[in-house]
Symmetry: none
Subunit: 399 residues, 2 copies
């Protein structure tokens, strides 16, 4: 029996409410002046109180040494194996612009590019054109009609990036990238990686031709490169696996989109603490609330140690307003984003599970304190079952 | 190569004796008055001495968040994957009443039930009849002759519960429960879950009819419901895998029965410390002794924190009398049974391995101390190989 089927076989109802709070990019590295990480520097009275009645540990998002993107990092947090359940960039891009993907849709990332008269790639990013130019060009591509009962939608993402979604019968996303990864050569033809994907690869080739036509009056953005083809396959839902009414609250569509893969209802909040609190309060009928807090990661990516400290403190204040409504509270990050690195990293991430059934040991919430925590080092995929156990949602296995 | 075959390929002889002591339900939760768990409260001079020359850690019995029953918990301690090697309730019940199961036997749990004149279930537990009534009715069922060279044995378990064992050629236990899980409807017919189980399902149906006949003069316990069919499949034995002469010493038949799955010899002791010590001394020719201590779990199930503390202290005194006869001593629980929860739980369990080759670090034996232990967090299935290594029973892998 596979792991999810096993947990499904043990799930049972409970009236305990779970808050599953993800501070994006929470983990960090010590600042050279203070020797303290962002989290260790932050003044977090609420988290410290929750720690005193909770258990701590460190999570490994995917596998040791692996730096995850937001997609696999959240898929792991939601309890799915992130290596077995890889989601293509095309699908993540479409989810990220709030496109209403349906099972069977195939999506790919688009890069606008510059081609010379011989059709060779001159610039793989079309001079990094800005949104002002890219949006109307995207609209031209969205008007392409591939016929044959296939719907073709194109949405702008950012600058020279867009995405295309194909909807029709028997589509298959196992298609290789058309980006040749260098200049001076033509784009590759969309190539099916399996026989079943042949017709979809033909459709993609017709889309590339039609795009070339639609952009023929352009000097810079006169071609497209396609990457990250994938079909949209929802995962077994939280409702089906655990009987959970699960809600996702986030200010960025991408995270709501990943939560949609798990069958959570989506609740987009504005970026303010008040907006997030109001949205969490609006889903009082749900017994599982995934709350995503974005700005910790953004300040990490900016290399802004102090700014990340400030965002952690804001998240702590947010938690103070929410905690009374929940019986079990989990706080972690999807990955580390040390300000010193200005990027995601592989470093394990602080984890806190607060419930009436915790063996509390720690005194504060931080990377080094969590390394001594009673939960030890935990894979991200194992967090959800632990949280379900604390909420009384897993029955005894065997006699 | 699978995991067991790999360890088997590395096993080699040694004259070091191993004591594998399981304090049932050892793990606990802090008491609200003292902030200490049962084990942390107990005065355990012997365990503390063993810790000083040993290594500690915490074990995860099955998977994170999973609360195991005694069967899977012991199967894991004996080094077998507890999810891959699930044992049906019928087999565990038969082992629990000390029935001499043989490979190929099929066993099922029986609930006496009350049927109305139309054959519909009125009470799924026959008014929870007591042993006094149930024992003679069980004897009636034991007298049923199914013919066709099939032996049919019925044994009483407790109150309205019994078990039936079928012995014959080509039996197959993949049969669905007959318990409809509600009243007002007739029992389900025994249904084969695979073609190979068809003839066994027919036998089970004939047993149900014969039972109805045998109980026809009864008002309350006038029918039977069958649950947890399974065939008895011994696991690869300790002798075959590791060349161990392994003995099991316990006062409850159920634990001896699970040990029989692993091919250990069975030695039932009375419930006193003297009885357990004498039985362990009687197997001086065995190089592996599994010693099961039941009362820690019983007091946990009672919600008796102080009683569980006292039982841990008794087990500690027992260990003082035994330790000189062994080179490697392992002490853990099969699972946690926090008195606060009055039930098994998923919480990791304290683990101690004492040998001349330990990297000792800890000062005392308790949940929080073990969380800091040098063994870290260990799955229960990995304990046995560690113990074998400490006893010099695993050769070098590769050159």
């Amino acid at each position: 029996m596979d792991r999810l089927a096993f947990y499904r076989s043990l799930s049972m109802p409970s009236d305990q409410r779970i808050l599953f709070m993800v501070l994006d990019g929470l983990g960090g590295l010590p600042h050279s002046d203070t020797g303290l990480t962002e989290l260790e520097s932050a003044n977090t009275p609420t988290l410290d109180e929750l720690v005193a009645g909770g258990e701590c540990g460190l999570t490994v998002p995917v596998l040791p040494g692996v730096t995850p993107g937001s997609g696999p990092a959240h898929i792991a947090l939601f309890g799915y194996d992130p290596v077995e359940n890889q989601v293509g960039r095309g699908v993540l891009a479409a989810l990220g612009v709030d496109f209403d993907l349906r099972p069977g849709d195939v999506a790919a990332r688009i890069n606008f590019c510059t081609l010379d008269d011989d059709g060779n790639v001159v610039d793989r990013r079309a001079g990094r054109i800005d949104d002002l130019l890219a949006v109307p060009l995207t609209e031209r591509l969205d008007a392409i009609d591939l016929g044959e009962g296939v719907e073709c939608r194109v949405r702008h993402v950012k600058q020279y990036r867009a995405c295309v979604i194909l909807r029709g019968d028997d589509l298959d996303g196992r298609i290789a990238d058309t980006d040749p990864q260098r200049t001076g050569v033509p784009p590759l033809a969309p190539r099916a990686l399996t026989d079943a994907a042949g017709p979809t690869a033909d459709l993609a080739a017709r889309f590339v031709d039609a795009a070339r036509h639609a952009l023929t009056d352009q000097d810079v953005a006169n071609g497209v490169l396609l990457r990250g083809f994938d079909g949209f396959r929802p995962l077994p839902s939280f409702a089906d696996l655990y009987g959970l009414r699960a809600a996702a609250v986030a200010s960025y569509p991408m995270y709501l989109g990943v939560a949609r893969l798990a069958g959570m209802s989506e609740h987009r909040a504005d970026d303010s603490p008040d907006g997030l609190v109001a949205m969490v309060e609006s889903v009082a009928d749900c017994d599982f609330v995934f709350l995503h807090y974005k700005a910790t990661d953004s300040r990490g990516e900016d290399g802004d140690h102090e700014g990340k400290v400030a965002e952690i403190e804001k998240a702590d204040a947010l938690l103070a307003r929410l905690r009374a409504s929940f019986d079990v509270i989990m706080v972690t990050g999807d990955h580390s984003t040390p300000a010193r690195m200005r990027s995601h990293s592989w470093h394990p991430v602080p984890l806190l599970i607060h419930s009436a059934l915790a063996r509390s040991t720690e005194r504060s919430f931080g990377e080094r304190a969590c390394a001594q925590g009673s939960l030890g080092q935990v894979r991200s995929v194992d967090i959800l079952p632990l949280v379900l156990a604390h909420a009384g949602r897993l029955r005894k296995f065997g006699a």
